[in-house]
């Protein structure tokens, strides 16, 4: 059986959620001796170590990562973990009691797997607006009944970072890739920014090494979703950032050489949807365009920053 490291990244956690998460870890069917627990406190205002007790686990520690950003926290974990498999949880992921055991069995049975995630069912504190139902995947909800896996990029088998289980070799390669191409860190989600794209980047790293990735129905997580993440203003902002992330991911793939552009075709389609659609789809069109603008701005800032450093180096 491969040994497992469980990492929970948290930033100013809601303590009632965090205690449910830790409880679900306490109840894992896999014996404590087979896994270690890392709690990464990502620049919380009050140190998390003051409010949680991890003494029930023989092999647990709190790591304080001062640099704000979920990506920094994950990279730090990838450097520090000691197991053969690494499982990432967010501080609102309550896992089924067989989660770790099934991860371990799955990776033993399938040596071709590099990174997987599971079925994420929502527990809403407040019901989201009705129109939101088809877009649940934005907030990392995956109601999976059938496992899907592939060794090429496709949205149906793409794992998400919530509950993601990956191999050590994938983590090592990911650290190497981000160190060599700092441009990959442009999507780091810092504080209140909602950019994302790390899941795809990890999946791509795994596939470059020849591994498959997938979503597996037997890995079950309850995703706790607070009220503030189901109000329309948040959802629209999230959508805007996701659109921006999409543009930026393409830009990162081209290592900053391919410009971010809107084609006439895309504009025409946007115009058509704006004219013909209902209120929601109009709003989404606007957010898409704002997401485009945001991506342009971020990429321009990055390029300027790079030139700035290059110039100052030149002067030295």
């Amino acid at each position: 059986m491969p040994s497992i490291s469980v990492a929970i990244c948290t930033h100013n956690p809601r303590l009632d959620y965090l205690s449910r998460v830790l409880n679900s870890l306490k109840q894992q069917s896999l014996p404590y001796s087979d896994w270690e627990l890392l709690l990464i406190d990502n620049a919380s205002a009050t140190p998390v170590s003051e409010s949680v007790d991890l003494s029930w686990h023989p092999n647990a520690r709190v790591i304080a990562e001062a640099e704000l950003g979920i990506a920094s926290a994950r990279l730090r974990t990838m450097r520090e973990f000691s197991g053969e498999l690494l499982v990432f949880f967010d501080d609102d992921n309550v896992m089924a009691e067989d989660y770790l055991q099934r991860c371990s069995e799955l990776f033993m049975k399938r040596p071709d797997l590099g990174a997987v995630s599971g079925c994420l069912m929502p527990e809403y504190e407040a019901q989201p607006p009705e129109w939101f139902a088809p877009y649940e995947s934005w907030i990392a909800v995956r109601r999976i009944t059938k496992s899907t896996w592939s060794n090429f990029l496709d949205s149906r088998s793409e794992p998400v970072t919530a509950g993601m289980c990956l191999r050590r070799s994938v983590a090592t390669a990911f650290i190497k890739a981000t160190t060599e191409n700092p441009i990959m860190r442009i999507l780091d989600r810092r504080g209140s920014s909602l950019l994302s794209g790390e899941d795809v980047a990890i999946a791509k790293t795994a596939m470059k090494l020849g591994y498959s990735v997938g979503q597996f129905a037997e890995l079950r997580i309850l995703h706790l979703i607070p009220k503030r993440r189901t109000i329309p203003a948040y959802l629209f902002s999230l959508y805007r950032h996701q659109c921006a992330s999409g543009h930026l991911m393409g830009w990162v793939d081209g290592l900053g050489q391919t410009p971010i552009q809107l084609s006439w075709r895309m504009l025409l389609r946007a115009a058509y949807r704006f004219v013909r659609g209902n209120q929601i789809s109009r709003r989404l069109v606007i957010e898409e365009l704002r997401g485009f603008q945001l991506a342009r701005k971020i990429s321009r800032d990055w390029t300027d920053g790079q030139q700035g450093t290059a110039n100052s180096k030149g002067r030295l």
Partner: protein, 307 residues
């Protein structure tokens, strides 16, 4: 016995079949480890008399009188005696290491149920420019990496019939499934008809068995494309047949499936305008596909039970 090679042929071109058999003769996998089933699918002349297979210790001539690729393959599946089957068409030239690699993949990827090859074309005359985007329709699809998945996102991980490797358990499940929906047998090539859902149906059974499908670079095939298949007319008929059989097959596999109907009138007009703007012969190809789709829709609407 590690694998069974099943060749289904119907009035073969002697030159092509000769090269297919020569390629099998040159395989590096020891002949004791595989058998050769030569299925004569209702050819005018009985092929057993004219084709000598005595060079192979485990070769058999089998005559299947029911015409069609699917009945011929089902016969081959019934007669085979190993756990891995390789379907070879009578115009497929396998590279010398094909069978060795097929066995290796079978051992290394126990989670795959059906997988195929990287297929290069050998064209009887120069490929016209309009054919280039459609080569995969003629089962010419070279890959430069391996692909696999356990669902059907697109053709990247979906093997075609030429050089299809399939586990016996999946093939048997396919035969059993066909017994419950006999209409699907009609969806495959038969004589000169060009519907061809059988390859996909066979490979997709792997998903039903909880396994995946794949395409591997190290399995190499040369597919001979005769002049007659490089005409606009042939490609139109082929595209129509594929479109028709794909939708009908999906409906037969899942009776709830219906091809999507475009409700918005303006979008339909826009589509029509787009098609009208296309240059020939691309326009004919799109129109052929639309005909296939329309036929499938009509048939599904006429028989809502799907049987």
């Amino acid at each position: 016995m590690k694998l069974s090679v099943i060749i289904c042929t119907h009035n073969p071109h002697p030159g092509y079949l000769r090269r297919t058999l020569d390629a099998l003769k040159a395989q590096t996998l020891q002949r004791e480890q595989w058998e050769l089933l030569f299925i004569d699918n209702g050819s005018k002349e009985h092929l057993a008399e004219s084709w000598d297979l005595s060079w192979h210790p485990h070769a058999r001539h089998i005559r299947e009188d029911e015409l069609g690729v699917t009945p011929a393959r089902l016969r081959g599946i019934r007669e085979s005696q190993s756990e891995l089957l390789v379907m070879v068409d009578d115009d497929n030239i396998l590279r010398f290491d094909f069978l060795v690699n097929a066995v290796e993949i079978s051992n290394a990827y126990p989670f795959l149920g059906a997988w195929g090859a990287s297929i290069e074309g050998e064209f009887e005359h120069q490929v016209p420019h309009w054919l280039k985007p459609h080569l995969h329709t003629l089962a010419v699809r070279a890959v430069n990496r391996d692909y696999w998945s356990n669902y059907y996102p697109d053709h990247r991980s979906m093997p075609v019939g030429a050089g299809l490797c399939i586990r016996k358990s999946v093939a048997v499940a396919h035969a059993r499934a066909l017994a419950t929906r006999p209409a699907s047998v009609k969806l495959d090539r038969k004589g000169s008809s060009l519907v061809s859902g059988g390859d996909i149906d066979l490979a997709m059974t792997a998903y039903d068995c909880g396994l995946g499908t794949g395409v591997f670079q190290r399995l190499q095939i040369t597919h001979i494309i005769p002049k007659a298949r490089m005409t606009v007319d042939y490609l139109c008929r082929l595209l129509e047949g594929i479109e028709y059989s794909t939708h009908l097959l999906r409906h037969q596999r899942n009776p709830n499936y219906c091809p999507l109907e475009e409700n918005s009138k303006s979008k339909r007009w826009f589509r029509a305008y787009q098609v009208w703007r296309l240059p020939e012969p691309t326009r004919s190809f799109v129109q052929a596909e639309n005909r296939g789709l329309a036929r499938a829709k009509a048939e599904i609407a006429a028989k809502p039970t799907g049987i």
